[in-house]
């Protein structure tokens, strides 16, 4: 504003010299503080913020973890994930037994009872497509939107927790819960399956080849790691929607809905290699990790696509939220 004299910058929107006159440091605070004020003032003239306030100390992770952990949906989701393997075990025990004769085309479900490892792979395969997606979408989609719906978001922001920091802490905790969910299911399945079906070598779906159990155990770590990475897209998508809406269910549902659309598009073979760039396309690439020949290419592509989407979605979430008018 170089022409303030004629253009009324005295009342201008915050950039003109008129405001500048007021922006000087409050050097006179101590002197002018009345006797009554002295007792109650918790301020320092240097920082102009309350004593003890530091932006980087706001919303510590442990606080956010506690805030989220006591929620019913957190507990229910973990309960469900931990119970699912046992439900499956019971289902396999009570279901009509096959004659033991394996078909030539071995499906992963046919082999589920072959060993604890097979069972864990089966449990992961049946849950990765939907249950884990919902779990991750829940933890990441709910986190900001629920605060908005409770109106607690505005008090956190006015505390003030800087917006970037709020999102950062929130997504760290949400990803932490998501990771815990993705990890706890196969681990519990491994435990349940081992107790129910024993500790044997893993039999590979399709060919029925066998890999020694100890060889496959580190591969199982790869499987879980890949499952985590591939869920990043859901997490980021849910998180982005979470910062845009006041409705937690909207955020979760929106992320899951888009996920389903991507899955449907993936079935359209006419899209050809374009489908490779759908976030869901490489979801099952972890099966390569328990093949006789460990093949990284699919998982590399899947991780690449996943990280790409996640990075952009999260960046957009931060950018939007920074400038967003919080009206909830």
């Amino acid at each position: 504003m170089t022409h303030g004299s004629t253009n009324g910058t005295a009342n201008g929107p915050g950039t003109g010299p008129a405001t500048g006159t007021r922006a000087g440091p409050a050097t006179g605070t101590a002197a002018l503080t009345g006797p009554g004020a002295a007792t109650g003032s918790t301020t320092t003239s240097m920082t102009r913020s309350a004593t003890g306030y530091a932006p980087r100390r706001t919303l510590p992770l442990r606080v956010e973890i506690v805030r989220q952990f006591k929620r019913r949906r957190t507990l229910v989701m973990f309960g469900l994930l931990l119970a699912l393997p046992w439900i499956l075990v019971i289902a396999f025990q009570f279901g009509p037994q096959s004659s033991g004769q394996q078909q030539s085309a071995l499906r992963i479900s046919d082999l589920a009872t072959a060993s604890g490892l097979n069972f864990a792979a089966f449990a992961l395969s049946v849950s990765a497509n939907f249950l884990l997606v919902v779990a991750v979408a829940l933890f990441c989609g709910d986190t900001v939107a629920s605060e908005a719906s409770w109106s607690s978001l505005r008090y956190l922001l006015a505390a003030p927790v800087p917006r970037d920091r709020l999102l950062r802490q929130k997504i760290i905790v949400a990803l932490g819960y998501s990771a815990a969910a993705v990890i706890c299911l196969p681990l519990m399945a491994l435990l349940a399956g081992t107790l129910a079906f024993g500790w044997h070598d893993i039999q590979v779906p399709g060919t029925g080849e066998t890999i020694p159990a100890l060889d496959v155990l580190p591969r199982f770590g790869i499987v879980i790691g890949y499952a985590l990475v591939s869920q990043l897209v859901v997490a980021a998508l849910a998180f982005l929607i979470s910062t845009m809406t006041d409705s937690p269910l909207g955020a979760v549902g929106g992320a899951v809905g888009l996920w389903i659309i991507s899955t449907i598009l993936q079935a359209v073979e006419a899209l050809g290699s374009l489908r490779e760039f759908l976030p869901t396309f490489w979801n099952t690439a972890w099966l390569d990790a328990i093949a006789p020949e460990l093949d990284w290419s699919g998982m590399a592509k899947g991780a690449s696509v996943s990280v790409t989407y996640a990075a952009i979605l999260i960046a957009v979430a931060f950018r939007r939220f920074r400038r967003k008018d919080v009206v909830s």
Binding site: N11, R22, S49, A50, V161, N283, D295, A315, F318
Partner: protein, 950 residues
């Protein structure tokens, strides 16, 4: 934004609808014909061929493709492929060969005397069709494609009829005698081992059911039907020979009985063998052979290719994943290759021709679809079955005794013709089969685990030493052994039979065995196992029991490799690493550019305001008469401070209100005084009605005293452009309890949200203790707020909520003053209950307590008394007054004017986003009293101000 979205949606919908409604190419109509031909060695046999002619889809004169069906099929078998070719601009003639379908005649196995003559007459017939392009009168532009039986007729016809311009024979034979009587020792069919099961299928009524490729198409289904249907009673002759030519039938019956090929049989079969006449083929030939084919293995195509190439004719060879034993079939890929070949040599449209040698290889699973993917590495030269290089793999194993069981049973199993393809073809990996060797019948020689992967392409060979007497029939095969529990793989299920004769007087003989040609990759750590068995289910073996000893004459297995075929590098695709990096860079960019709030919107608002300003400048005299925000702006442009401008606006308001201006507006002296106070004080004080902690207006600080709240020029527009807060300016001093008054929609809450940094103003600013409020500005830590109702985590108790909230501020617990705050909340034991069980009043009190945590210097409360009962309201009033008395500042918005009157020292009245009045409560009240006789009621004043007085 919405319009763009709607436009995109409409366009997408339109696109989808168009795509759905777009007329698909009309189904080509075939013309069914019965074409009479004459054939036989003496050209005296009349045969009617059942044919269908499809003119090209585009009309006009088109090159024509003759589509031949496989054994056991008919013209219907190739219908799908015909339709596809028709769409691609070819005329197509499909016909049922003599002895098949509705054609008359007997099967002569593509003999030059019979079937070849038929097809030549079909070409004659085509030359007369107006839809067919001619090279010369009577010479149509014609290609022939077909699989198996149909492939052989393509080769045979091309050899006998120079009018043929291009052929694509698939999974077919070069030498029928050699195919049925193979000998891995290389001594020809006379010494060969009879391929009993395949021959049985071939000559029996039940034709082999395996569709090898596109040319088979429906053939597979028909074949299946043929296996299960047996409805029409047969005559004795039909039952014996089916529709075979008697000579063929006789020959088969003889060789099948003895298991040995007689010279007559070989002569007859050779008449049906392209290899004998391949040198005459001038039509460019694309040979497509299946890797899973124990009937016509890759060696057959090798023989054809060499024979045709020797004559200088262009030949390409493709080994695809399919064949008579199943495999994937790769129908689409085969069609593309075929269409490319014909496109180049028939249409001359410059289609890229398949390279001289192409091999389909397993590309692993597509991680997305979990389907097998196939790679098609190419080589510019066909290396033959010996490869371009040879890797020698050392085999180890002692000489071993093996026995031929009496009757040749039980037999080892490598491939079960016609069955293995059905059961295992689709499901498993390519080229994987499990062989089954009978104990006591197999000698095994193994290599050490491979230290590098070995890609075998062609026929390995090994030199064996066989001890025995007379003729010894053996079967050699190479397994891929992984050192795990999984069974060894027999690549493609192929086995190489051999018959050696131990010379009289000698006890052993050495022989070089050519093993089956395959393309197979042995992984690192796997071992190669040469197995030599005495039996194989698919072959005729001696009935007499016998025992032999088998050893390695040289411990070396020569493995041909073709380095030129190295698969296209399947390294990590570039985007795998590039895309995430780009995304992260983009994310960084998104974050970096988003760090400061965009000024664009503000500028727009400002520009708009400036425009109106300019208009107003034209007639400054009228400006005063208008009570419009623009008035303010216009006057500001006259060089006056905003304080004055505001006062003038008040004047304008007052003028409208029938001369009641003196009730509200400060007199000139006051305005001047304010102006003298640095030009920033909007809030004009006239005495101190509450007397509590007010800084007197006269001692307005000049050296930068921290003003608790200063709002200047604050403007915020709704999305639709309507101003929620319009150029609002006021200032609150330390110790004041300020009431923010206004009807619903006056912009109070929006203003408060801007104070908290929740909403970004479009113009103007809020300063708290001198610091400009931005989202998350540190100075907000000195602000306690309660706006638009409480915000708690419903699942946590009141105490947890309060404590966690304080923990979230990151400030020391000792500063929180929990006890003071909770005393205000006065929740008692309810503090330990989950907040969701609270009443509204309880939440309200808890929220106010939360706002007071840490005793902030500036407390902003929005409707704090909502939901409180009268005693609590009274108490709250005292709390607020006390709070301000300690030198802090309180801002309260309320609808309850009486409340404000009793609680607040000062008041700001807003209406429609604008400031209507500001000042000490007492001044407002006294002004009201002076105009009418009523008692000093804030309500009257307020209603006056907002112009709602009735």
């Amino acid at each position: 934004m919405k319009r763009v979205a709607a436009l995109v949606a409409v366009l997408a919908l339109a696109g989808v609808v168009t795509w759905l409604v777009w007329p698909s190419a009309s189904e080509a109509r075939g013309l069914d014909q019965r074409i009479a031909v004459v054939d036989g060695p003496a050209d005296d046999q009349r045969v009617e061929l059942d044919a269908t002619f499809f003119p090209a889809a585009g009309g006009g004169k088109a090159p024509v493709v003759l589509l031949a069906h496989g054994f056991g099929g008919s013209k219907q078998s190739v219908r799908q492929q015909a339709l596809r070719l028709v769409q691609d601009g070819y005329a197509v003639l499909s016909w049922s060969a003599r002895g098949f379908g509705r054609s008359t005649g007997e099967i002569a196995l593509n003999s030059a005397d019979y079937e070849v003559k038929d097809v030549k007459q079909l070409i004659d017939w085509l030359a007369k069709r107006p839809e067919v392009r001619l090279d010369a009168p009577g010479d149509p532009r014609v290609g022939i494609a077909g699989g198996s039986y149909g492939g052989a007729i393509a080769l045979m016809t091309a050899a006998y009829d120079s009018r043929v311009d291009a052929i694509v024979p698939q999974i077919t034979w070069a030498d029928l005698a050699d195919a049925l009587f193979p000998d891995g020792g290389g001594q020809g069919p006379a010494n060969g081992v009879f391929k009993r099961m395949w021959a049985g299928y071939f000559f029996g009524r039940g034709a082999p059911v395996q569709g090898g490729g596109a040319a088979q198409g429906l053939g597979a289904a028909q074949g299946l039907g043929a296996l299960s249907q047996q409805s029409v009673p047969l005559t004795a002759e039909q039952a014996r020979c089916g529709r075979f030519l008697p000579a063929v039938c006789e020959m088969y019956q003889q060789v099948a009985k003895t298991g040995r090929a007689t010279p007559q049989a070989i002569e007859l079969l050779r008449k049906s063998s392209p290899v004998t006449v391949a040198g005459r083929i001038k039509a460019p030939t694309l040979l497509i052979q299946g890797q899973r084919d124990s009937l016509f293995p890759l060696g057959q195509a090798d023989a054809n290719a060499k024979a045709i190439a020797a004559a200088g004719t262009p030949v390409s060879l493709a080994w695809f994943d399919g064949g008579h034993d199943g495999g994937n079939g790769e129908a689409d890929w085969l069609y593309d290759q075929t269409a490319g070949w014909f496109g180049h040599y028939l249409k001359g449209d410059g289609s890229p021709v398949p390279e001289r040698f192409t091999v389909t290889r397993d590309g692993g699973r597509d991680p997305g679809t979990r389907q097998r993917i196939r790679l098609h590495p190419e080589s510019t030269a066909y290396p033959g079955l010996g490869g371009t290089a040879t890797t020698t793999v050392t085999l180890k194993g002692p000489e071993q005794n093996i026995a031929n069981p009496p009757g040749g049973s039980p037999a080892s199993i490598s491939t079960v013709p016609g069955v293995s393809g059905l059961l295992g073809g689709g499901g498993g990996a390519t080229n994987l089969s499990v062989g089954l060797d009978m104990p006591g019948q197999v000698a095994v020689f193994e290599s050490a685990p491979l230290t590098a992967p070995l890609q075998l392409t062609g026929s390995p060979s090994v030199k064996l030493k066989v001890y025995g007497k007379g003729q010894v029939t053996l079967f050699a095969k190479v397994y891929d052994v992984a050192d795990t529990a999984q069974p060894p793989n027999l690549p493609a299920g192929l086995v190489s039979p051999l018959r050696v004769t131990v010379p009289d007087g000698a006890d052993s003989v050495e022989t070089t065995v050519t093993l089956p040609a395959v393309d197979y990759r042995f992984a690192v750590g796997h071992r190669l196992r040469l197995a030599v068995t005495t039996t194989d289910m698919g072959y005729a073996t001696p009935v007499e029991p016998a025992s032999y000893r088998v050893g390695l004459a040289a411990p070396a297995l020569a493995v041909p490799t073709v380095s030129a075929l190295a698969a296209p590098t399947t390294g990590v695709a570039w985007w795998v690493w590039a895309m995430p990096l780009a995304a992260i860079a983009l994310a960084a960019l998104i974050l970096a550019t988003g760090r400061t709030p965009s000024r664009r919107r503000i500028l727009t608002v400002r520009d708009r305001r400036r425009t109106t300003t300019a208009q107003q400048d034209v007639s400054p005299d009228d400006v005063l008469a208008e009570n419009d925000a623009r008035t303010v702006t216009a006057q500001r442009d006259n060089g006056r401070s905003d304080t004055i401008a505001k006062d003038d606006r008040h004047a304008a308001t007052a003028q409208r209100d029938d001369g009641r201006s003196d009730a509200i507006v400060k007199d000139d002296g006051q305005a001047a005084a304010v102006q003298g106070n640095g030009g920033s004080g909007v809030f004009v004080k006239d005495g101190d009605p509450s007397g509590a902690g007010l800084v007197p207006g006269e001692v307005e600080p000049v050296s930068g005293e921290e003003v608790p709240l200063e709002i200047s020029g604050l403007t915020k527009a709704y999305r639709n452009g309507e101003l929620a807060v319009d150029d609002l300016s006021f200032r609150v001093e330390r110790g004041q309890v300020l009431g923010l008054l206004g009807p619903n929609g006056a912009g109070k809450t929006t203003t408060m949200r801007m104070m908290m940094g929740l909403i970004q103003p479009d113009a103007g600013e809020v300063r708290i203790f001198g610091d400009r409020v931005t989202p998350g500005a540190p100075v907000l830590s000195r602000l306690g707020s309660f706006v638009e109702g409480p915000g708690f985590l419903p699942h946590l108790s009141g105490r947890d909520n309060i404590e966690l909230y304080w923990a979230a501020t990151g400030r020391p617990t000792a500063d929180a003053r929990f006890d003071d705050a909770l005393e205000i909340a006065d929740l008692g034991k309810a503090l330990e209950r989950a907040v969701r069980t609270y009443s509204q009043g309880m939440r309200q009190r808890l929220a106010i307590a939360q706002a007071m945590l840490g005793l902030p210097d500036l407390l902003v409360l929005d409707e704090p008394t909502n939901g409180l009962d009268p005693p609590q309201i009274r108490e709250m009033r005292e709390v607020l007054k006390r709070y301000a008395r300690d030198g802090r500042t309180v801002i309260v918005s309320s609808h309850l004017l009486a409340e404000v009157e009793q609680t607040c020292s000062h008041v700001v009245v807003m209406h429609r986003g604008r400031l209507v009045s500001a000042g000490p409560v007492s001044v407002l009240l006294s002004a009201a009293t002076s105009t009418n006789g009523h008692g000093p009621r804030l309500e009257d004043v307020f209603l006056d101000l907002i112009g709602e007085k009735s």
